[in-house]
């Protein structure tokens, strides 16, 4: 999977490249609109992560160029602005998603994965991890071919953990993923804990292995034992 990160801040860019390279993505960078245009002229990407405030222009201008050149690529906008108007403008111009700074790396990863899956022509809606099978069209989860009943939150949680497998996912990011801005940090952590507990129980009851490890209360990691 090829990703292009269009971001002018060096530190942030470095973090992004480091993290996503480890995930196995092929990552490229651009720090200005001009650089970004160069890149898309040379390569094809599966997803572009686009910051709006660039030194030589607005990220939306770059979006317009993508549109005018009829380049079909997933775009997720990173913005400092949670302004609804900007968000709509971005989506209107063809962006697939919008994430406000500061964001969680695991959340960004989850969104990128979703966009890529959606964009894949005739792509399968099945996600498999050993004995766990998730059908994202039917919103069904099977363990050893047995259907298990998960609540919406538990389903979202499982998908999020699997998308971010082998990486530590913080409670903060889970809380924000499940409840967005509604929850205050400390109050939501109990809820995160109970949802994880319930999910583990349901997976185990269907004969599934325990892939969800807790890390000193900081977060969780979904991985093979």
């Amino acid at each position: 999977m090829k990703l292009l990160f269009v971001e002018d801040d060096r530190d942030l860019l470095k973090s992004l490249l480091l993290y996503f390279n480890e995930f196995g993505y092929n990552c490229e960078k651009a720090r200005t609109v001009a650089e970004a245009i160069d890149k898309i002229s040379l390569y094809t990407y599966d997803c572009i992560v686009l910051d709006l405030t660039l030194p030589d222009g607005n990220g939306l201008d770059f979006l317009k160029i993508l549109q005018s050149r009829k380049i079909d690529v997933g775009v997720i906008i990173l913005s400092a602005n949670s302004n609804l108007d900007d968000k709509l403008k971005g989506l209107d111009l063809g962006a697939d998603d919008y994430l406000v700074k500061p964001f969680h790396l695991s959340e960004l990863n989850s969104r990128i994965k979703s966009i890529i899956r959606r964009k894949k022509q005739g792509g399968t809606s099945l996600i498999e991890f050993n004995e766990i099978q998730i059908n994202t069209d039917a919103l069904e989860v099977r363990v050893n071919n047995t259907l298990i009943r998960l609540t919406k939150k538990e389903y979202d949680l499982l998908l999020y953990l699997i998308f971010n497998r082998n990486k530590v996912v913080t409670k903060s990011s889970i809380s924000e993923h499940l409840w967005g801005d509604f929850m205050d940090q400390s109050d939501s952590f109990d809820s995160v804990y109970s949802h994880v507990k319930n999910l583990k129980r349901k997976l185990k009851e269907s004969g599934g292995k325990d892939y969800i490890k807790s890390l000193y209360g900081v977060g969780y990691i979904f991985k093979e034992e």
Partner: protein
């Protein structure tokens, strides 16, 4: 024309007129040879008095009229909603009033520009914080991925991550407040309050269940108000969030909506500060992990913007907020 000159001129004319009237009456009387000295003197006296009274009255009316540009300006200045508006002045030929109006206009323009740039400044600063916050968060999350981290290292990272979370929330609130001040939320539409309340309650379903809260709702059929959807949603959401998060285990929440007045009553920990202080200040009850101060600031600001009277009281560990949504 100078104020003094005009006043003097008017007084002069009035004086001449009065003298003219008095003299005329005197002449009329003296023409009448049969009248006695005493009688004519008396009539003369009366005439003079009437003349003086008329003179005074007319002077009062004229001075009033003369000063009207001044009173217009004064009224404008006393208007509490003067924020950033230009002072509408009455056209006048009097030099001093003209000068006053010009000076005031210049002053108000300058103040307004300062005000605007400060508002912009506040919002810009908040935005400047976002990328650094993103950097701290992402670096911390990267560190978390390192193998063989000790428990101590993890807990320290956890603390950093949680603190970034808090900073983010505070910054978000600041950005929201400065946007409200910058009049970004101008669109208005018909909003069903009942729907918003139910929507919010649904969002906090998990927490409500977790704390085993009893929620009682008495909502009048569709209360519709014409206002900004975004802000109203934030308002209701913050109100209910506070009622849920600052509640005790197995506590209660009572929401009533009648005659465009919404009252939320909930159980909660007793407050050690006085009601008003608690409401006024940004500082929250416990070590600001719970952002009740932020939430209340936002609630208050939105109510102020739309002129919704809001009252807050704590009695016997029961918190009560009432808001009147005027049509």
């Amino acid at each position: 024309m100078k104020l003094f000159t005009k006043t003097a001129l008017i007084y002069g004319i009035m004086l001449l007129l009065t003298i003219g009237i008095v003299v005329t009456i005197y002449l009329i009387l003296s023409a009448d040879k049969e009248s006695t000295n005493e009688r004519s003197l008396f009539i003369f006296l009366i005439a003079s008095l009437i003349g003086l009274v008329l003179l005074s009255l007319t002077q009062l009316i004229i001075i009033r009229k003369l000063w009207s540009p001044f009173y217009t300006t004064l009224n404008q200045l006393q208007n509490p909603n003067l924020e950033g508006k230009k002072i509408a002045v009455e056209n006048t030929t009097i030099k001093e009033f003209k000068a006053l109006n010009e000076a005031l206009n210049e002053f108000s323009t300058r103040t307004h520009e300062d005000y605007l740039s400060q508002k912009q400044y506040a919002e810009n600063l908040s935005h400047e914080l976002l990328t650094p916050l993103a950097i701290i968060r992402t670096k911390s999350e990267l560190l978390l991925q390192m193998p063989n981290l000790t428990e101590e290292a993890m807990l320290n990272l956890d603390s950093i991550i949680k603190t970034v979370g808090r900073l983010t929330k505070v910054n978000q609130a600041l950005i929201l407040l400065s946007k409200i001040n910058n009049n970004i939320f101008v669109d208005k539409e018909d909003i069903d309050l009942k729907e918003l309340i139910n929507e919010s309650l649904e969002n906090f379903e998990d927490q409500i269940r977790k704390k085993k809260l009893t929620v009682r709702v008495e909502l009048e059929q569709s209360v519709i108000i014409n206002s900004n959807m975004n802000l109203l949603r934030i308002l209701i959401s913050n109100l209910i969030k506070n009622a849920v998060f600052h509640n005790i285990q197995e506590g209660f929440i009572m929401i009533s909506l009648k005659d465009h007045e919404m009252i939320i009553t909930n159980s909660g920990a007793p407050s050690t500060k006085s009601t008003d202080e608690f409401f006024q200040r940004f500082v929250s009850e416990q070590a600001s992990e719970n952002s009740i101060g932020l939430g209340l600031s936002i609630i208050k600001r939105i109510c102020l913007l739309f002129d919704f009277p809001i009252h807050y009281s704590i009695e016997n560990k029961e918190h009560k907020i009432s808001i009147r949504f005027k049509h």
